[in-house]
Every structure is written in structure tokens, then in C-alpha cells.
């Protein structure tokens, strides 16, 4: 059953590439949409048969692939992966829906989109470390192509930077996995916690350090974040949606599944430092967001800040904080995708994202009032307003981490307050006041006489954002569904015997 989640996008991508003869862009788009709808439906089918009371991996599929190097095709899903698989299916579909005016190579574009989605599914469902790595790397080249072919003016620089950073991330992760196999002598590459009885703490720390830096680049955490704002700025809207909503989650997923899951004792030892790192990342991301004048860069830096919450929750490693981490992954996926979609609409209509230029976009007749309304909803959710997804996730993260790391948690809460600061700056500058889409001329009378003729936003352009906004509010009002889905898995993760032993030994709270 899980293999279908890989088969649909990969076979679809291959089919699109190999289909004989010329295909019109719209036909290719429809075919890709059909495949992605099928993928979403299949993901929902997996959800239906998923047993929420079982904390372990379910629906497992396995066969030996390259036995000699320990690369087995082993798939399984648990409460940590299930929500992310759903988010992947939903956001790839949204990305495809909001792909319009594709001027070149539509066949390659949609094939890459499908390929990324399949690779992400593979990474989330892998039970084998090498298989995970394979899929983790598999999404790298398609994303690089998506940025470097369909990106903005400075796309070459941004794509190369992304490639270099993520390649180093991959090398570190592969190195850690191979190192683990080497020092433990177990070459099956299974996801089994390592204890001090098997491996010395020094070695554990080295391997965990490599994994941490590898995933910190992907998440990204300060100071490994510099590729993200550039990549977002140059990527097209659908690619930004995918990047922020899904691909960053590979890093946070890796943090929970492999860093915490493989090295619970070393994790417990490092946890206070990790909490401090989280606070620095949150505050740096938030303060950097305040300084931005490009809407997209501001949203990108907000991602850097908000990913820090997940590191804090993982560091605390309590059942509540880990559940909060899952909520934060899902809610950040929806909210950041929503914000990037809306910034994309603003850019498409006004041809700028400059906060020193844009004014009054909420103008009811000549502006983008519905886009502005959704943007206000999105930034409220991101700032953690009650009733929306951001509140649930931040509350769980803070509630679960406060007892373990009070100072780091309080600093992260300040970061949450800073989210309100930079997003209110965004909304106030771009959406309130008299409508303007050009820089001030210096003559107030001439500026106040300037007529603005923005094209209207069609309903079909707003529907994806509306769907995401509904998800953000739905998750905020009815969080129990996701809670139920992940609670067993995150509780089990927090109660890993080695982790519990380390906590009892005072490692966590020392």
C-alpha cells in the first residue's frame, strides 16, 4: 500500500517525460494534477487504515534490494510520518494548481514536481537509513533544476548556493550513517537506538554532531540558514510553497527520527545546548525578518525562526513537546505555504514585493482585498493567534519545553512576539493606507493623484490559498484529529528506554 505513494508520482513523472509526441502545457498540467489528486486520495486511504493506537511503524513493506551494502527496500508509517505524508500530498497538489503561465519546458517542470513529491514520500516512509538517504538526495537535483530554470533573475546564484549547502548536508548525513554502521558493525541500516553499551559517548556525539549539522542545514537553523532566503527569493511561487511547506520538514523529520531516535543518550546530553541553539535561531530569524523589505525574504526568515521551535521541542523531548513539534511541522507547512502563495499573488499582480513601495493593497475596489484578508489570517496564524494552527503548535511546544528549559523557552516566546512585530509591519506597510505599487516620487500631490490599475485576482487564483487558510483554521479549531494521529508515536519517542535512562540520570536537566 505504501509503495503506491512512491509509484504514483515516480511512474507519473516518468510517463510525462517519456510520453511520445508534443503535449500542450495545459494537458501536461492536467495530467500532473490528476496524478497528484490520486496521490492525495491514496494518502487519505493510508490514513483510513492507519491504526492511531499503535505507536510503531505500520503497513510495513520490505524486500531485499542491494543486500551486499545493506540497502533494503523497507517502508513503514507511524504517527510522525503520516501527517507529513498528507502535507506532502496536499502541498504538491497546491503547487501544481498554482503553477500558471509556464513559459518553458512544462513537461520537465511537472515531472520534477512529481519526482520531488515521490522522493519526499520515500524519505518519510523509509525504514532503512540508506534508503532514506537515497530519497533525501533524490529531491535535491529536481529542486535545483526548478530554481535554476524557472527562478528569478538571480536564480543561478541561489540554485548553486542551495545545491552546495544541501550537498554538504547529504555528505554529513551519509557519513554519519556509514560511520554508525562501521563502528557498530551492523550493516543493516535499520533505525535502532544506539546505547552506550554498544557505542562510547564520544563516538555517539561525533555521529550525532554530523547528523545534527546535516539536518540543521536542511531545516535550516542559524548559522546554516543563508541558502534559504536566497532560494525562496529566486524560486517561483509553487517551488517556494513546496520548499517551505514540505522540503524543510525533511530536516525536522530527520532531527526527530534519526538524531533523537538513533542517539537518545547523546541527545539528552546535548539537549541544553540544543535548546539554546533553538532560542538563538528563533531570535535571529525573527530579528532578521524585521529588517527585510522584500516580502518573500521576510516570510523566508520567519521560517528560519519558526523552525527553531521544533529544535526546542525536540531538545525537551517530552511527550507534549514532541507532539508540539509534529503540530509545528504541519502548521508551519500550511501557514508558510499560504504566505508564499499570497506573496506570489501580490507579486504577480503588482510586479513587486518591495515593502517600501507597496501600500494599501486591501483597497476594496482597486486593491487585492481578499488576498489581503487571507494574508492577515496567515500572519495571525503564524504569530500564534488562538483559533488557528500556529497557536496549538506553539502552545504545545512551549508548554512541553518550559519545565525542561525555561530560559530557552521564554526566549522562544519572545521570538513568537517578534513574529507579530514583523508580520504587522508587513501588513501595515503593504496593505493599509492609500493604494500604491510604485515608489514615492517625492511629490505628495502627484502621488495622491496616481491612479492604480491592478488586474483583479480571479477566484481560481485564490482557491488554493483559501483551501490552505481553511486548513490553518480547521487545525486550530479542531486539533484533536492530528493530536490523536501522532500522540502515540511521539509519546513512544519520548519514552525511548535509553532516553528515559539518560533523563533519570540527570542528563537532560543538568
Amino acid at each position: 500500500m505504501l509503495s503506491a505513494l512512491l509509484l504514483i508520482p515516480f511512474a507519473g513523472a516518468l510517463g510525462l517525460l517519456c510520453w511520445p509526441g508534443e503535449l500542450a502545457t495545459e494537458r501536461i498540467r492536467r495530467a500532473a494534477l490528476g496524478l497528484l489528486v490520486l496521490q492525495l486520495l491514496w494518502s487519505l486511504r493510508v490514513l483510513l487504515v492507519f491504526d492511531v493506537s499503535d505507536p510503531g511503524l505500520q503497513l510495513q513493506e520490505s524486500f531485499a534490494w542491494v543486500d551486499s551494502i545493506g540497502l533494503d527496500y523497507r517502508l513503514g508509517v507511524d504517527g510522525l510520518a503520516m501527517p507529513l505524508v498528507l502535507v506532502n500530498a496536499a502541498l504538491t497538489l497546491v503547487s501544481a494548481i498554482c503553477t500558471r503561465d509556464l513559459s518553458q519546458r512544462p513537461r520537465l517542470y511537472f515531472a520534477l514536481l512529481l519526482g520531488i513529491s515521490g522522493a519526499v514520500n520515500g524519505a518519510f516512509l523509509s525504514e532503512n537509513l540508506l534508503l532514506f538517504f537515497l530519497f533525501y538526495e533524490l529531491e535535491l537535483i529536481p529542486l535545483w533544476l526548478l530554481i535554476s530554470i524557472w527562478g528569478g533573475a538571480n536564480r543561478g546564484y541561489a540554485a548553486t548556493k542551495f545545491l552546495i549547502f544541501t550537498a554538504i548536508s547529504g555528505v554529513l548525513i551519509l557519513g554519519a550513517f556509514l560511520g554508525l554502521a562501521l563502528v557498530t558493525g551492523q550493516a543493516d541500516f535499520g533505525i535502532n537506538p544506539v546505547t552506550t553499551a554498544q557505542l562510547g559517548m564520544g563516538t555517539q556525539l561525533v555521529l550525532l554532531g554530523a547528523l545534527l549539522i546535516g539536518f540543521a542545514i536542511k531545516i535550516p537553523l542559524v548559522p546554516f540558514h543563508t541558502w534559504l532566503p536566497d532560494a525562496h527569493t529566486e524560486a517561483s511561487t509553487p517551488v517556494s510553497v513546496l520548499l517551505a511547506g514540505v522540503l524543510l520538514k525533511l530536516g525536522t523529520y530527520g532531527l526527530l527520527r534519526f538524531c533523537l531516535g538513533l542517539f537518545p543518550e547523546a541527545w539528552a546530553l546535548l539537549a541544553p545546548w540544543l535548546a539554546g541553539w533553538a532560542a538563538v535561531s528563533v531570535l535571529y530569524g525573527s530579528l532578521a525578518a524585521i529588517a527585510q523589505r522584500d516580502m518573500k525574504r521576510m516570510v523566508a526568515y520567519s521560517s528560519v525562526g519558526h523552525m527553531g521551535y521544533i529544535l526546542l521541542a525536540a531538545a525537551a523531548a517530552t511527550p507534549v513537546s514532541l507532539l508540539g513539534a509534529v503540530f509545528q511541522m504541519v502548521s508551519h507547512g500550511l501557514i508558510s505555504a499560504l504566505l508564499f502563495l499570497l506573496v506570489g499573488v501580490v507579486y504577480r499582480k503588482t510586479r513587486t514585493r518591495d515593502l517600501e513601495v507597496l501600500r494599501g493593497l486591501l483597497n476594496p475596489e482597486r486593491g487585492l482585498p481578499f488576498t489581503g484578508t487571507l494574508m492577515i489570517l496567515g500572519v495571525m496564524a503564524s504569530a500564534g493567534m488562538p483559533g488557528m494552527a500556529g497557536f496549538i503548535s506553539e502552545f504545545l511546544v512551549f508548554r512541553g519545553s518550559l519545565a525542561a528549559f525555561p530560559l530557552a523557552t521564554l526566549l522562544c516566546m519572545v521570538g513568537s512576539g517578534l513574529t507579530a512585530v514583523y508580520f504587522l509591519l508587513l501588513v501595515n506597510r503593504a496593505f493599509f493606507g492609500r493604494l500604491a505599487v510604485t515608489p514615492p516620487s517625492g511629490d505628495p500631490v502627484a502621488d495622491s493623484r496616481l491612479e492604480v490599475r491592478l488586474p483583479a485576482v480571479a477566484l481560481r487564483e485564490t482557491l488554493p490559498a483559501l483551501a490552505l487558510a481553511s486548513g490553518v483554521v480547521g487545525l486550530g479549531v479542531l486539533p484533536w484529529g492530528l493530536g490523536k494521529l501522532s500522540e502515540q508515536a511521539t509519546t513512544a519517542m519520548a519514552q525511548l528506554p535509553a532516553l528515559v535512562a539518560a533523563i533519570q540520570g540527570g542528563g537532560l536537566l543538568s
Binding site: 518553458q104 486591501l362 483597497n363 505599487v437 510604485t438 495622491s448 493623484r449 496616481l450 490599475r453
Partner: protein, 386 residues
């Protein structure tokens, strides 16, 4: 696959010309029209004035009804129903399926507040005070509420009568203007008006023809008739009502309702009413989300009566019906510049072709006074083809 060549994107902004004061003086003295001459402008102005005429007809009827039938009614709850209290009418009223008579009241209050011209002078006269005293004496005889209020607030009923007098005068003014604008549309359809210059001339001739028409107002109380604005006051259409109306509504206006307190507190509003520039010729067609901005009420009303030709023009625009009120406002401002143009042309102190240097100087000074005010108005619409 080769990249598909894209057509150049249309500009997102339009910057209309902002003629200087000197340019405007020369235009006025040369007898040229302020609004650029074009077939599009002609159809837009004529059509928007036709819809304005329809709206003014409703405003006029209601204002005269209010002044005569709701006179000194301290709780005029049904004043917008024109005396029709049928359930169907009340239901439509509650559903807001109606003209925004509030805009007419807004204009009336602007006139009363700015108080310029002969009408205001008469409202402050001894003769008017005597009329008020007689009316109040008669009215309070049978109305216990007013009888109780009057000694407590002796200025109250007098002020209500001033307001009613302005209301009736404005109703009479709009009666004439409504008919004039409907006639203009008819003339354009008949081919008698085929240019912006002809529109200005048509309006000027209409104003001049009605210039001397008397403005009078009487009320009936308990079977007796009382003059509020008697014929002997000598109030006339053009100088005592039309000119103060242009001053109050076209030029000065009032700070927008809802934002007035914030702007006043920020010292953004001049304490000198003569310096006000919030009238129709200055209004920003782009609403900025302030609540209760009255010009938008007028645009809603005009939308109900928009001629099909103008409606189709708007629908063909980039936003279709989505920004129709903004477009109406912009077209309306073009039309109001034509009306102002006609009013200026009709009130020059001397003929424009005069050879007498003193008369030429007087005309130039008159044009310069207008130009100084108009050059900071929304003149950007004058050469906007949209």
C-alpha cells in the same frame, strides 16, 4: 520547446496631467474647456450626468418632502420614505433597497455649516428670526414636546428651521439641476450636443436661464401658512443657492465622516473652513477603507441608474464591475469639472472677449482665484482617457 513570447504588460499606474495654476487661467480666459475634448469623454460625461440627474430627482423630492412634511419633527424616523408608509416600502427600506438619501443630507449639512452666500445671510437676519418666532409660537401651541424643549433650549428650534430652510433650498436647486442633466442626455442623443464644449455651454445656458428663479419656502402649521423663505427675501437660484452649493460641496466639503476626529486630533484639519479642500473636486476616487465616506454613497446611487452605454464601458475595463464605483467617481469628477467650468464661464464679471483692460484684468483676477483652487483638485482626471 521554445519560450512563448509574451505580450508587453500594460502599465499598472496612470499619472494624469496636473496643470499649473497659470495653465488653468489661460484655459479659462481662452474659453477652452477644462476637460479634454474627446468622444469618450463626451459619452462618459453625458451618461454619468444622466444617472446623476436621476439620483438628484430622488434627492430633490425627498429633501422637499422632509422640509415640508417632516418640519420640526424631532424624531424623523420615516423621513426617507417620502410619505409612503406601506409595508413593502418599509421592507425595501430595511433591506437597503433604496437611494442613499444620507448623501443629500450630507450636502445640506455642508451647505449649512459652511454658510456662504445670500441664503446664509438671510438665515442670520432679523426678518428670518421673526419668521422663526412666529412659527415656533404656533408650533409649540399644539406640540407639548416642542413646548417643553423650546424654553430649555431656545436656539434649538430656530436651528432646526435653518436646517429645514437649507434642505428645501437644496431640494429646489437639485430639481433644476436634475432636469438640466436629463435634458442634456436627451440633447446628446438628438445630436444637439456633440462635444465637451457643447456640454459646458448647455449647462451654462441652463444655469443662466434659471439664475433669477426665486427660492421660496413656506410651511403649513395647523391650517396656517408660514413663510420660512419669503419672496421678499429676494433669494435667487444662482447666487444664493448654486454658488454656495458649489463652494460647500464641490470645493470645501467636510472632512470625511468617521475619520474626522482622528484627523482633527492630528491637527491635519485647518481651523479655517475657507481652507477646506474636501469637496467632490478633491475627493480621492480610491476608497481607503474609512467607514461612512459619503461620496461613495453617491456612487452607489448612481450605479443604480447607470445608462447601459456607460455600464458597458465600465464592464470592459480591467476589473469589470469590481471597481465600478471608483470608475463612476472618476467619471463623475470629469463631469463636475464641466459643471464647474460652466459655472465659472457663466459668472465671469465681464465678457471674455472684452477689449477694456480693466475688464480683462478683472476677468483674469477672477480666473486666477478659481485656478488657484482648482490646480490642487483632481485635475488628473481631465486628460485620463479611461
Amino acid at each position: 520547446m521554445r519560450p512563448i513570447p509574451r505580450s508587453p504588460k500594460p502599465p499598472l499606474t496612470f499619472s494624469g496631467g496636473l496643470p499649473s495654476s497659470d495653465d488653468l487661467v489661460e484655459t479659462l480666459l481662452a474659453g477652452r474647456t477644462l476637460l479634454a475634448e474627446s468622444p469618450d469623454h463626451l459619452s462618459q460625461v453625458v451618461d454619468v450626468l444622466e444617472s446623476y440627474g436621476e439620483v438628484l430627482d430622488a434627492y430633490s423630492i425627498n429633501l422637499i418632502y422632509q422640509a415640508e412634511k417632516q418640519f420640526l419633527n424631532p424624531f424623523p424616523v420615516f423621513r426617507f420614505l417620502d410619505g409612503d408608509h406601506s409595508p413593502a416600502k418599509i421592507w425595501r427600506h430595511l433591506l437597503h433597497d433604496r437611494i442613499n438619501f444620507e448623501y443629500a443630507e450630507y450636502c445640506q449639512k455642508a451647505m449649512l455649516w459652511h454658510g456662504t452666500g445670500g441664503l446664509d445671510a438671510y438665515l442670520d437676519s432679523e426678518a428670518f428670526a421673526a419668521n422663526c418666532a412666529a412659527i415656533v409660537a404656533r408650533k409649540t401651541r399644539r406640540d407639548p414636546l416642542l413646548a417643553a424643549l423650546n424654553p430649555l433650549f431656545p436656539q434649538f428650534l430656530g436651528e432646526l428651521i435653518r436646517s429645514a430652510a437649507t434642505t428645501h433650498a437644496l431640494g429646489q436647486f437639485w430639481r433644476v439641476m436634475s432636469d438640466l442633466f436629463i435634458d442634456l442626455a436627451r440633447a446628446e442623443r438628438d445630436g444637439r450636443v456633440d462635444s465637451i464644449a457643447a456640454v459646458v455651454t448647455f449647462i451654462k445656458e441652463g444655469l443662466v436661464a434659471a439664475a433669477g428663479a426665486p427660492i421660496t419656502y413656506a410651511v403649513e402649521i395647523a391650517g396656517s401658512r408660514f413663510w420660512v423663505l419669503p419672496p421678499e427675501a429676494g433669494l435667487t437660484f444662482l447666487m444664493d443657492v448654486a454658488v454656495p452649493y458649489v463652494e460647500a460641496v464641490f470645493l470645501r466639503g467636510t472632512p470625511f465622516l468617521g475619520t474626522v476626529s482622528f484627523n482633527a486630533q492630528a491637527q491635519q484639519i485647518s481651523p479655517d473652513q475657507a481652507q477646506f479642500m474636501y469637496g467632490a473636486l478633491y475627493a480621492d476616487p480610491l476608497p481607503t477603507m474609512g467607514s461612512g465616506i459619503p461620496p461613495s454613497l453617491l456612487m452607489q446611487d448612481m450605479y443604480r441608474h447607470l445608462p447601459d452605454r456607460l455600464h458597458q464601458t465600465y464592464l470592459a475595463g480591467i476589473r469589470g464591475a469590481g471597481d465600478v464605483r471608483v470608475k463612476i467617481c472618476m467619471t463623475f469628477q470629469k463631469a463636475m469639472f464641466c459643471v464647474t467650468n460652466a459655472a465659472i464661464a457663466g459668472t465671469f464679471p465681464h465678457p471674455l472677449d472684452s477689449d477694456v483692460p480693466a475688464q480683462q484684468a478683472a476677468n483674469r483676477a477672477y480666473a486666477a482665484a478659481w485656478a488657484a483652487r482648482l490646480c490642487v483638485a483632481r485635475t488628473d482626471c481631465l486628460d485620463d482617457p479611461g
